[in-house]
Amino acid sequence: MNEQQLIILEVDRLSVSYGAFQAVKDVSFHVQAGEIFGFLGPNGAGKTSTLSAVEGLLKPQSGRISVAGFNLHEKPLHARANMGVQLQSTSFQAELTVSEIIRLFAGIYGLNLSKEEVAAKLTEISLADSAEKRFGQLSGGQQQRVSLMIATIHNPRLVLLDEPTTGLDPQSRRQLWERIEAIRAQGDGVLLTTHSMEEAEAVCDRIAIVDHGRIIAIDTPEALIAQHRNDPDVISVSRKGKITLEDVFIGLTGRAVRS
């Protein structure tokens, strides 16, 4: 098995329940090294529950999750040491400065960064002059850059990004895409959730569409469009005369607005 085929994340028959409600039903997928894998679905489809289970924030009802070869249930700290996470609404201690937050998270991953190393990290993301600012004083785009840098500070094999470009302007979004592509170029795997079909088409190598807790389609964006090009449900929602990933997504998951 070469580096590109190496499986970084393996989710096998994962089920997650909240009391009687089953949010994730028997979901299986994998993310390879050097791959950006998109996880798409309407609100309440089970994306965040799946991601939370992978992050180790909730205990699944059944199934197996392995990160870089470490079973998340049996070796949670080893598995988490190999993943970097950018949560949907990342909040850091409001009292800490950006450089203090970076040093905190570097320390959690066993890295002891000097002041110069922290400054270099901030320069990499064009925030050299923000070291002493509080996280809340940064703009949305700057916050996302810091969050992504912290998520990757320990060079993890797997990066989990939960709707990372929500609320960003086009310039910031493009810049973040380039950073995500740079992670792929290093040979690491990325699991990305997004509501933006444009983003999924632009950066994802493969996509899983999830609905009602199950994966209903999984393939490359191009293959998904090709497979569903003649699907009447997809054609009926098409708006621009040609079939897009968004048409496939709405055709498969329905027009109804989810809460």
């Binding site: 992050e55 909040s91 009292e95 040093r103």
Partner: protein, 238 residues
């Protein structure tokens, strides 16, 4: 753990205004009770000040900071790293214990400088030790409140209510203003047992079987509150 402790102590330092408020009430009590030192005894005055400081730290400081950080998702961000949940919580508790020691030191200093209360060296040593035990009781009570209540605003109002309840009932009962029956109940309440073991520890010669019973009661309260608080605690508010 070192990185977490550094961040938590930095957070405490940046919140020094609220820390000063936590220190203020016990110091004001010790100073304003100067006239009662002869009647109640120096250790009893200091014990009351420290008890109130411990209630402030456990209820107003600890529980509100946990409720706020949980609501903001700060714990979830930490928990996705290779750090156990116990380490995250232990770091917070160590910071609170440091606050307990600083508060106790401040009360001793105010008592000595203003009220001219001096203790034996052993009294000071035992005082610090028992203030940590008393602090553990109120931290576990704070933990129980954040275990039961998720909303930070509700945690804030509940802890304030419990804080004033303890102080008012405790102090009135101490002066015998609430009758014998309520006085007896208060004596064995979390307020009463901490006050009793603190007063006895500051004057070790007065330690009795009753004080040992109060110490056991304090440990019992701590265990019960901590078990409930840990069992019911959720790391996020969703």
């Amino acid at each position: 753990m070192r990185a977490l402790l550094r961040a938590d102590f930095t957070t405490l330092w940046r919140n020094r205004r609220s820390f000063r408020l936590v220190l203020l009430v016990p110091i004001v009590i010790v100073i304003s009770w100067k006239g009662l030192v002869d009647k109640l005894g120096g250790p009893a005055v200091l014990a009351t000040g420290i008890t109130i400081g411990l209630i402030s730290i456990g209820l107003l400081g600890y529980s509100n900071s946990i409720a706020r950080d949980r609501d903001k998702g700060i714990f979830q961000r930490l928990r996705v790293g290779p750090v156990s949940s116990w380490t995250i919580m232990m770091s917070r508790i160590i910071v609170q214990i440091a606050m307990v020691l600083m508060m106790t030191l401040s009360v001793f200093a105010a008592g000595n400088l203003v009220d001219k209360i001096t203790l034996t060296p052993l009294g000071y040593v035992y005082g610090f030790f028992i203030s940590v035990i008393g602090g553990a009781l109120y931290l576990s009570l704070g933990q129980m409140i954040v275990g039961w209540i998720k909303n930070p605003e509700t945690v804030n109002s509940t802890t304030r209510m419990v804080y004033f309840f303890f102080i008012m009932i405790g102090m009135f009962a101490e002066f015998g203003a609430l009758g014998e029956q309520i006085g007896h109940m208060v004596k064995w309440s979390p307020y009463g047992v901490v006050n009793k073991i603190l007063a006895a520890s500051l004057n070790p010669a007065t330690w009795s079987t009753q004080t040992t019973m109060a110490l056991l009661a304090a440990i019992g309260y701590t265990i019960v509150f901590a078990v409930i608080g840990i069992k019911w605690f959720k790391w996020d508010t969703k």
